[in-house]
């Protein structure tokens, strides 16, 4: 609010107090679970099960990380996670932009019908079982490409990019066409560079969604450990923890199936959680800039 600073009344003081305390409370509630997990991941596993670890490890150790990072499966899952994220982001952004450009051309006769075909998919879906059978019949179960192919062009992303392209000056495209540029040249040389901000937003949307996804691994690729992803590995650890009551004895019994008795499911979960979350934290500054931009861009214009 741009009201000039005047004398503070009693109401102002109380309001300020309420505002700042609530927001500080919110910040603490948001950050605490992350910091706590970070602390647990660096703390001796048996020591953690005694409780009382808050923001700082009590018995510092790198053992949790060492024992997880020596497991071959983690590297493989990380590799698959990175690969699917990179490939999906690239293919999805590029193909969505291409379709969006075609649909933004007023002279394209099928524009209305094709737009409708896409928009309808936002409201109706075949459901779990038919989709599952489709993937199976297409040979996409136990197949890496199930991570990339099905979500190539989605209606929401398409609408956001098309809206952006519609806002570009038509004269640029016209003049390129006069100079004899083909459609693909116009798209690649003129439209794509101009769309950079919106493409960055969409790319981040897709990247985060892919990195965070576990359900497709669970549904289509769970029988092939080579195609497992980090999120799915973490989900498996969480599920095995859910099925127990959470007492220490059971935790230890569970851990004994692994290597040594000095790592507990809690420690494994905390360490995995940190490993899975770090990439998001690294790109977070970009995320929040472009996401907020994209949200207002897609949300308010359409």
């Amino acid at each position: 609010m741009k009201v000039r600073r005047m004398r503070l009344t009693k109401e102002d003081l109380i309001l300020d107090f309420v505002v700042y305390t609530t927001l500080i409370f919110l910040v603490i509630v948001t950050l605490y679970p992350f910091l706590n997990t970070l602390a647990v991941s660096f703390n001796d596993a048996l020591d953690s099960s005694k409780g009382g670890i808050h923001l700082w490890p009590r018995k510092f150790t790198l053992y949790n990380y060492r024992s997880l990072l020596t497991r071959h499966q983690i590297y493989n899952a990380a590799l698959i996670s990175v690969l699917r994220t990179v490939l999906s982001t690239f293919f999805c952004t590029f193909s969505t932009a291409m379709v969006a450009y075609t649909l933004s051309r007023k002279e394209f006769v099928l524009r209305k019908i094709i737009s409708f075909i896409y928009v309808l998919t936002m409201y109706i879906d075949g459901g779990l079982i038919p989709t599952y059978f489709l993937m199976r019949n297409l040979g996409l179960t136990n197949n890496f490409w199930v991570y990339v192919l099905p979500g190539l062009v989605t209606a929401f992303n398409l609408i956001v990019i098309r809206t952006y392209i519609n806002g570009l000056p038509e004269s640029l495209i016209e003049s390129a066409r006069m100079d004899g540029a083909g459609e693909f040249t116009i798209f690649a040389k003129i439209v794509l560079p101009l769309c950079k901000p919106v493409l960055a937003t969409i790319a981040l949307f897709v990247a985060v969604a892919n990195w965070n996804s576990w359900f497709d691994t669970f549904l289509y690729n769970s029988s092939n450990p080579k195609l497992s992803t980090l999120q799915y590995e973490l989900m498996k650890v969480l599920q095995s923890a859910n099925s127990m009551t959470g007492s220490l004895e059971q935790a230890l019994a569970q851990a004994a199936t692994g290597s040594v008795n000095t790592i507990t499911p809690r420690a494994i979960r905390a360490t995995m959680t940190v490993i899975v979350t770090v990439p998001i934290a690294v790109v977070y500054p970009f995320l929040q800039r472009y996401f907020v931009h994209g949200l207002t861009l897609g949300g308010l214009k359409e």
Binding site: M1, K2, E11, L15, V19, T22, L23, L26, T30, Y32, P33, F34, N36, T37, K50, G52, M98, T102, I114, I117, T121, Y123, D125, G126, G127, L128, I129, P130, Y132, F133, L134, L138, L152, E183, F187, N212, W214, F215, L234, M235, L238, Q239, A241, N242, S243, T245, G246, S247, L248, R266, R269, A270, T273, V276, Y284, Q288, F291, T296, L300, E302
Partner: protein, 287 residues
């Protein structure tokens, strides 16, 4: 050049709808389409006679409504609070931190929720014990009646900051002259919030409320699936879990397809109903 992509969308989005025929068969994989036994609406009859179906419907609606109401109210309150902050640095940091959880997966969030509620050193139990509200740690995730509220609270925790963005954008576009005039008339900050800010963002609140009502049957699955356990399953089972259990685990493919059709068709009606309602109220083009 978009032809391959149109074929792509037809294969991946429309062929599954053709798969709805499964619900009218006694489908068995391996047989060809023409060899399947056709059973008409039998699967739907079974569905409406299944007590679990009503449980699923109740759980889905209850959790969706809890999420919708608390999610919206908390986001609006947060937007109003952030708007009242005058220290720019504090404002920016609080906002940035508030939408951090939106970007993490539900797998990670469910882990954090589980740890916070755990009986061995979970922060919630520790706090309640040190405040002497409870004597023994409570196993929150094992209490069926609490499950809906845990889902609601974790939804608010994850999405409150993200949800506030749209309201903040709306607040930012309020004409500053209005505030100025109100100040001159002697309105304090609370009255300005009540009489200017809130009425100005009312349209967007109404649109978002109506739009979200269209998704009452489709909201959430990951949360419930990742936080549930055997003890609370009667309160945790939502549509997708139901489809998974009957379809993939018990291999009752046709029955699970019928569940999917029910959800999809009702959702479609809700979305279009919501859209119609929004139009009636003078909000153009939501679709």
């Amino acid at each position: 050049m978009s032809v391959p992509f149109v074929i792509h969308v037809i294969i991946f989005k429309y062929v599954p709808i053709w798969g709805w025929t499964l619900a009218f068969q006694n489908y068995w994989p391996g047989k060809s389409f023409f060899d399947q036994v056709w059973v008409g609406f039998d699967n739907f009859k079974w569905l409406f006679r299944d007590p679990v179906f009503y449980q699923v419907l109740r759980n889905t609606l209850a959790m969706s409504i809890i999420q919708l109401v608390f999610g919206m109210v908390s986001s609006i309150v947060l937007a109003l609070l952030i708007n009242e902050v005058r220290l720019v640095f504090f404002k920016k940091s609080a906002q940035t931190i508030s939408y951090l959880p939106h970007f993490i997966s539900w797998v990670v969030a469910a882990n954090l929720v589980r740890d916070a509620l755990s009986t061995d050193g979970g922060i919630v139990n520790e706090l309640l014990m040190s405040l002497r509200i409870i004597k023994e740690p409570i196993m929150f995730l094992g209490i069926p009646k609490l499950f809906w509220w845990i889902i609601g609270a974790s939804h608010v925790w994850k999405e409150v900051g993200w949800g506030a963005i749209i309201y903040l954008a709306a607040i930012a576009s309020v004409d500053p002259n209005l505030y100025e005039a109100a100040t001159i008339d002697g309105a304090g900050r609370l009255r300005r919030i009540w009489h200017i800010t809130l009425p100005s963002i009312k349209p967007i609140i109404v649109i978002l409320l109506i739009m979200n009502m269209g998704y009452l049957l489709s909201s959430g699955f990951e949360q419930q699936y990742l936080l549930q356990n055997g003890r609370v399953i009667d309160y945790a089972r939502v549509f997708t879990i139901y489809e998974l259990d009957y379809g993939i685990k018990m291999m009752r493919y046709s029955f699970a397809t019928a569940v999917g059709i029910f959800r999809s068709v009702v959702s479609l009606v809700l979305v279009f109903g919501a859209n119609y309602l929004a139009k009636r109220m003078g909000q153009e083009r939501l679709l």
